[in-house]
């Protein structure tokens, strides 16, 4: 069984994002580009299935500029069998990314597509489930627990939803998006990184794929939210309770 994992590069989320002098471009300073943390959680889940003998091959795919092959090398170092970069001049919008993931899933014969819950840059959280819609596959988003496949290859999983946990049963082919608590991605060792450099990242031209058109909505402006005005340093609990009294007496 083949697993495909979608990997997006994002600016290191630990660097604050700010608007540049033109008031539109987002600048992340000298933040490095790293694989989206949720996508690495998804990859970890796929690798564990392969190690459990459930899957035979884990393939990672990115759709973006040539520099994104760096992130794919990290994924090879983590243990992926193959890495594919679908080359584009710049990072695609969510619809294009979903179309590329769906088409790649078809081409490699994947039974499952794993993605992260959301990219921590734009916080859209749509690519995985859009791919599910394009493919007509079963889907589960915000997955925190993934059971092993049963005799028919179906899995019971848990999703973190508002107010609790939801249990779903999916039969492949399906799309799974990984939430935070699905698992901690493994660290890569230096020998693994060096060994991965010898593995080739396969490159495909996006133009060579036949992709459905999904209409995008452009960002026409950006702004930073108004900062909150400064607060008061209080002496003690008594003063706090006095200040908060209106909160509890106003109907």
């Amino acid at each position: 069984m083949i697993l495909l994992v979608g990997i997006k590069q994002v600016a290191d989320p630990n660097h604050p994002a700010r608007l540049g002098p033109d008031g539109f471009a987002v600048e992340c300073g000298d933040a490095a580009e790293v694989p989206n943390p949720f996508d690495l959680i998804a990859l970890e889940a796929a690798l564990r299935w392969r190690e459990a003998g459930v899957a035979t091959e884990v393939i990672v795919v990115s759709a973006g500029p040539p520099s994104w092959s760096e992130g794919l090398s990290t994924c090879l170092a983590m243990g992926s069998d193959r890495a594919i970069l679908v080359e584009l001049a710049e990072a695609p919008d969510a619809g294009t990314a979903a179309a590329i993931l769906a088409e790649t899933a078809r081409q490699v014969g994947a039974a499952w597509l794993f993605t992260g819950r959301q990219g921590v840059d734009r916080d859209l959280g749509v690519t995985g489930m859009m791919a599910a819609g394009l493919l007509g596959w079963a889907q589960a988003s915000q997955v925190v627990e993934l059971g092993p496949p049963d005799g028919e290859g179906g899995v019971t999983l848990l999703r973190e939803v508002d107010g609790g946990l939801e249990s779903r049963y999916l039969h492949p082919p399906g799309v799974i998006s990984a939430d935070l608590r699905l698992g901690e991605p493994r660290c890569v060792t230096l020998p693994a990184i060096l060994a991965a450099r010898r593995k080739r990242v396969e490159r495909l031209e996006a133009a060579a794929l036949s992709l459905p058109f999904l209409p995008g909505c452009p960002v026409v402006a950006r702004r930073e939210p108004s900062p909150r005005p400064g607060g008061h340093l209080l002496r003690d609990v008594a003063e706090l309770m006095a200040r908060l009294r209106p909160e509890f007496t106003t109907p």
Binding site: P13, A17, R18, V26, A94, G95, A98, Q118, V120, D121, R122, D123, G125, V126, M129, A131, A132, G133, L134, W137, A138, Q139, A140, S141, Q142, G154, T156, V161, D162, G163, G164, L165, E166, R168, L170, G174, D179, L180, F213, P215, C217, P218, V219, V220, A221, R222, R223, E224, P225, R228, G231, H232, L233, L234, D236, V237, L240, M241, L244, E247
Partner: protein, 313 residues
Amino acid sequence: MSRLILAETRGGQLTTATWHTVGAAAALPGPLEMLIAGWPLEEPIALPAGLERLLLCRHPALAGQTPELLADLVASLAGRYRTLLAPATSFGRQLLPRLAARIAAPFIPEIVAIDGPHRFVRPAFAGNILETIQAPPETSPLLLSVRPSAFPRALPATTQPPTEWLAPPATSLPHAAFRGFRASPGDRPELGSAAIVVAGGRGLVEAEGGFALLEQLATRLGAAIGATRSAVDAGLAPGDWQIGQTGKIIAPRLYIAIGISGAVQHLAGIKGAGTIVAINRDAGAPICAIADYVINQDLRKVLPEWLARLEAS
């Protein structure tokens, strides 16, 4: 020009998030309709005001409002509407992208403001950047998911709108099945809509019994309880108490942050809060810079004292 609300249900009624989604729809022109597709559904179901028509689909196959089935159902109706809106909860987040891809419709997720019939604002980069997105004016339908905490709650209806019953679609994916829902324990106000929230962070990991004190405070104040990722990872709180970029986004009138440093990812969840109180012995913690009131003392001293004073009053 019509708009359709895709309703999220729980326990047979509309969720609070759905009520706030109707509140958001008020900013858009045109007649408003609602689709309620789920199982079980109570009779009568409490409805918001302003609906010109109600579409109802009630069938056991819709338990859990499974996205595969709902996408098929809505796809057959979508062409009648200019805009479809759903709450940006796990319900809307799993349904709308699938539907958008299925019918090749433009989709703008997680909106927090409406700036005209075709311009919408949404947060990105953990809420540090607000994007204004232009929807293509000629394309119908447009899909929107709505951050409930950013919009007011609709008022209740005083009359029943005309109702059309729909048959559920034949299931194309019989093996994508809802198996059950396990609610998080607790009988407190719902975190997503509570007026007062008390939340605990890393500081409570070291304070023995700290979370128990926080829970007592929440009870006393009639508050919901939240947590940061640190506290959840340390096993002090269940995952759905997490507030932040990938947890709950909340906008309570009063937010009390106890032992919380204020990482970017956490602050993303409280940008809409009214009054923020920070109890943190580290004056340099980022949360202190955005809080309205700060007590720069150890929570192990502050919490018991606050509880004692509440007890005495």
